[in-house]
């Protein structure tokens, strides 16, 4: 469904991603792991059209994606929940969700999307008129994920959804990701928490200084001694 072919991204003189390839098939959860500064967020932002490519190409459902502005990428069915949540703090929960449904035609579709989100995250329903900045960290993460789901994307890009959350909440977030996937959304997951990510993913790639150094079935990677040493702390 998603084909990332040999992309490179640079910020001025800094090469953040070099000749990186990966693919995601319909229905999968693919994990992208790697240490700080490996280029994980940059890869997601390249897919979302936030940063321009300096080489390579990206295709989605047979169509060329690179060169499109971010809102056109969302229209084609890819939505990203960015690193650090980035909810709109001075807007209410409902308004945040409305923004998530910006590409939808008509208020009916937005309302439907919201009902689905509230079914998945009941806590948000109680807080729909609360300002996003007054939510707890966990609630903000739920809002960030819900917001990215309103437009019913075919592919959901998640950038470190477990960042900064207490262990029980981390568990809950990963459970929710599996639920979202079971309901039919394909997922590309970027995580620092490699252990949990490899548990729920079907396939995974390991990123080091902007390139994929290992990839394969997640269960194989979880058993790989190199991965265990570098990312699983075993």
């Amino acid at each position: 469904m998603l084909e990332v072919c040999g992309i490179s991204v640079r910020y001025g003189a800094v090469r953040a991603v070099t000749d990186l390839s990966l693919s995601v098939a319909e229905g999968e959860i693919v994990a992208l792991i790697g240490s700080n500064g490996a280029g994980k967020s940059t890869t997601l932002n390249a897919i979302s059209g936030i940063v321009p490519l300096s080489g390579g190409s990206i295709r989605f459902a047979g169509e060329k994606l690179d060169g499109l502005p971010p809102h056109e990428v969302v229209r084609r069915g890819i939505c990203q929940s960015p690193e650090g949540r980035r909810v709109f703090g001075s807007m209410s929960v409902a308004e945040n969700l409305e923004m998530g449904g910006y590409t939808l035609a008509g208020k009916g579709a937005v309302r439907e999307g919201m009902e689905r989100a509230f079914a998945l995250f009941p806590r948000l329903a109680e807080r729909r008129s609360q300002l996003a900045r007054t939510l707890s960290g966990g609630e903000q993460q739920m809002l960030a994920m819900a917001r990215a789901l309103i437009s019913s994307p075919r592919l959901l890009l998640l950038d470190e959804p477990s960042m900064g959350l207490a262990p029980q909440l981390v568990e809950k977030v990963f459970e929710t990701i599996v639920t979202i996937n079971r309901q039919g959304t394909t997922i590309l997951l970027v995580e620092q928490n490699a252990g949990m990510a490899l548990e729920i993913a079907g396939r995974a790639s390991v990123l080091e200084t902007g390139s994929v150094v290992l990839s394969g079935p997640a269960s194989d990677l979880a058993r790989d001694p190199q991965v265990q040493r570098a990312y699983l702390g075993i």
């Binding site: 936030i50 809102h71 709109f88 807007m91 998530g100």
Partner: protein, 291 residues
């Protein structure tokens, strides 16, 4: 007497606020000090003047026409001078803005001459109205009411409409807004349009109030309004309104107390004092993570 000066100050402050809103909204979204904004205000004043003098329109139709002219001009300036520099450094965009500002004021001088022009006699009946013993001029009422209506309209657009909410989202987090599928370029265009419309209204009102429209009126008013935007907290819409009114009232109080030659110094002294105590301005938020 005090009431009278207060009304005076509020009316002047309303004109600053109308211009300040454009600075603050644009800054809120793309972190650019739109140096050419004062010239958009000047262009609006000229458009209004020409529509009244040659188009024979009444003041309110001319006001609407002037707003339209400035909207087109503002969108054009953004498209030609700022959009190509969106990924360039902020300094490049600022220099481009200064260039546009000089270009527009010089163009206006070539087209309309170096002397100030007045509105035709009787464009708006100037009368003194007695309210609670204070002598209020009908022009001041015109300014306060018109500005009030426009600001309320702005509030409705920003709070209730889809594009207005997108504006708030983009101003809070430009990248996150783009990731949600908001066409941020369109939001920028819309923001320039809104700001330019308000500035044009300010231009026509100032032109009528002082009965003078000139090629360099944008520089002076622009600096004052920019100070108002910073005073209120740049990026904050209510801040721009508050900042404008505070500056207007302070300025008129200074004049009333006999310090009229210190008029501009008063405005900037207040600005400096407030920024010393509150670096983000009266209603400004923390400045963080602007991409």
């Amino acid at each position: 007497m005090i009431l009278q000066q207060l009304v005076n100050g509020v009316a002047l402050g309303c004109t600053y606020a109308l211009i300040a809103l454009g600075y603050t909204m644009v800054y809120g979204i793309i972190s650019l000090i739109n140096f050419a904004h004062g010239e958009i205000f000047m262009a609006g004043a000229f458009a209004g003047l020409l529509l009244v003098a040659y188009g024979k329109l009444n003041l309110f139709l001319a006001l609407a026409g002037a707003m339209l002219v400035s909207v087109l001009l503002g969108i054009g300036v953004e498209f030609v001078a700022y959009r190509p520099l969106r990924r360039a450094s902020r300094l490049s965009a600022l220099i481009s803005a200064i260039g546009v500002s000089i270009f527009l004021s010089t163009l206006a001088m070539l087209l309309f001459g170096a002397n100030a022009r007045g509105f035709p006699e009787g464009t708006f009946p100037s009368r003194q109205i007695d309210i609670f013993g204070a002598q209020i001029s009908s022009l001041q009422l015109l300014i306060i009411v018109t500005a009030g209506v426009l600001m309320l309209a702005l509030e409705l657009v920003v709070k209730k409409t889809r594009i207005g909410k997108a504006m708030r989202a983009a101003s809070e987090d430009y990248t996150a807004a783009a990731l949600m599928g908001i066409n941020v370029n369109l939001v920028v265009t819309f923001t320039f349009a809104l700001g330019s419309a308000l500035a044009a209204a300010g231009g026509v009102l100032v032109g009528v109030l002082f009965n003078a429209v000139s090629f360099n009126m944008g520089l002076h008013a622009g600096i004052k309004a920019f100070a108002a935007a910073v005073l209120g907290g740049i990026g904050s819409i209510p801040g721009a309104v508050l900042g404008g009114i505070v500056l207007g009232v302070a300025e008129i109080s200074g004049v009333a107390l006999g310090y009229s030659s210190w008029r501009d110094a008063i405005a900037f002294a207040i600005l400096v004092l407030v920024l010393l105590v509150r670096p983000t301005g009266l209603l400004g938020k923390r400045i963080d993570r602007k991409v």
